[in-house]
C-alpha cells in the first residue's frame, strides 16, 4: 500500500516538483556527510578548509542554507572529491533506477583497482587477460 506522502506527491505536478527539490538537496548533502564520515573529517575541519564557520557548514549540510554549484565544488574539492552530473528526462527515469547486484558492484571496484595497479608493458599497454577471465566467471 502506498503511503500517504506518496499519494500526496502523486496528486499534483507542484507536489512532485517540491519533492524533487528536497530529494536533490538530501541526496547531495547526505553523500557529502558520508564522505566526511569515511574520511574522518569533522564539520569543524571542513569549515577551516573552506575558511568559514562551523555553523555555516552545518547550515549547508542540513539544507537550511542553499548551496550554490560553486560552493558544492569547493566543499567537494576540500574533501578530495568531485562531482559528476547525470541529468535525464523524467520519462527515462526507469533506465537509471536499476541497482546492480552487490557482487557486480564489488567486482567492478576490484577490477578498477587491479587495472589501475597492473603493470604496463613497454608500449604502455596493460594485460587484462586475467581480468576478462574473472568477469566471465561472475557473468
Amino acid at each position: 500500500m502506498n503511503d500517504f506522502f506518496e499519494k500526496w506527491r502523486g496528486s499534483s505536478e507542484r507536489n512532485r516538483k517540491l519533492f524533487e527539490r528536497e530529494r536533490l538537496i538530501l541526496s547531495v548533502t547526505e553523500r557529502i556527510c558520508e564522505l566526511l564520515e569515511d574520511s574522518n573529517v569533522t564539520k569543524a575541519e571542513l569549515a577551516t578548509k573552506l575558511e568559514t564557520s562551523k555553523a555555516h557548514v552545518s547550515q549547508l549540510l542540513n539544507g537550511s542554507r542553499n548551496m550554490t554549484l560553486g560552493t558544492l565544488s569547493d566543499v567537494l574539492f576540500a574533501i578530495e572529491a568531485k562531482v559528476e552530473i547525470r541529468i535525464f528526462s523524467r520519462k527515462d527515469e526507469w533506465k537509471y533506477s536499476y541497482s546492480p547486484p552487490e557482487a557486480l558492484v564489488a567486482l567492478t571496484k576490484t577490477l578498477h583497482q587491479d587495472l589501475y595497479t597492473a603493470p604496463a608493458n613497454d608500449s604502455g599497454w596493460k594485460n587484462i587477460g586475467s581480468l576478462k577471465t574473472r568477469v566471465a566467471k561472475v557473468a
Binding site: 502506498n2 503511503d3 517540491l18 547526505e30 552545518s58 549540510l61 539544507g63
Partner: protein
C-alpha cells in the same frame, strides 16, 4: 500497514492512520510551510529507504530506548519528528511510530509512551 519500499529497506508506518499524527504535527507550523514540510519528510523517508540510513545527525538522532533496550530514533525535519525503530540493526527495515511537533530537542514523555505503546502492539503482532 502503509509502507515505503526503497533500494535498501522498507519503511513501515505502524499506526492505522499515520496521516492523523502528521496533520496534528504540522498544525503547529505556519500554513504556508505545510507543503514544503511534507515534501521534506517525504524525501527523508525515501532517502532512508534507499540508502538504509541517514548520515547527517541534524536529520536523525537516537532518542531513547525501547523496553527491549534497543534504541529508537527521531527523524528530524525542522520542528517535526518521525519517531521509529529498526527491525534489528541500523539498516534493517524501519518502523515509524508516529509524527510529532517538537519545539525543543528534549523528548516529550507522551511521545515516549506512544512509541512504546506502538512498539508493544508491533511486538504483539509477532514481530520479534
Amino acid at each position: 500497514m502503509e509502507y515505503r519500499r526503497g533500494r535498501k529497506l522498507t519503511v513501515y508506518f505502524v499506526e492505522d492512520d499515520p496521516e492523523e499524527s502528521w496533520n496534528e504535527a504540522i498544525s503547529h507550523i505556519p500554513k504556508n510551510k505545510w507543503e514544503s514540510q511534507r515534501a521534506r519528510m517525504d524525501a527523508l523517508i525515501q532517502q532512508l529507504a534507499n540508502e538504509g540510513r541517514l548520515r547527517n545527525p541534524d536529520r536523525i538522532n537516537t532518542e531513547s530506548k525501547l523496553p527491549n533496550q534497543k534504541k529508537y530514533y527521531a527523524i528530524k525535519s525542522n520542528k517535526i519528528r518521525a519517531y521509529g525503530w529498526y527491525r534489528d540493526e541500523v539498516g534493517s527495515d524501519f518502523f515509524i511510530s508516529h509524527f510529532a511537533f517538537k519545539n525543543k530537542d528534549k523528548l516529550d514523555s507522551k511521545d515516549d509512551r506512544r512509541v512504546v505503546r506502538n512498539w508493544e502492539a508491533w511486538i504483539g503482532d509477532g514481530n520479534e
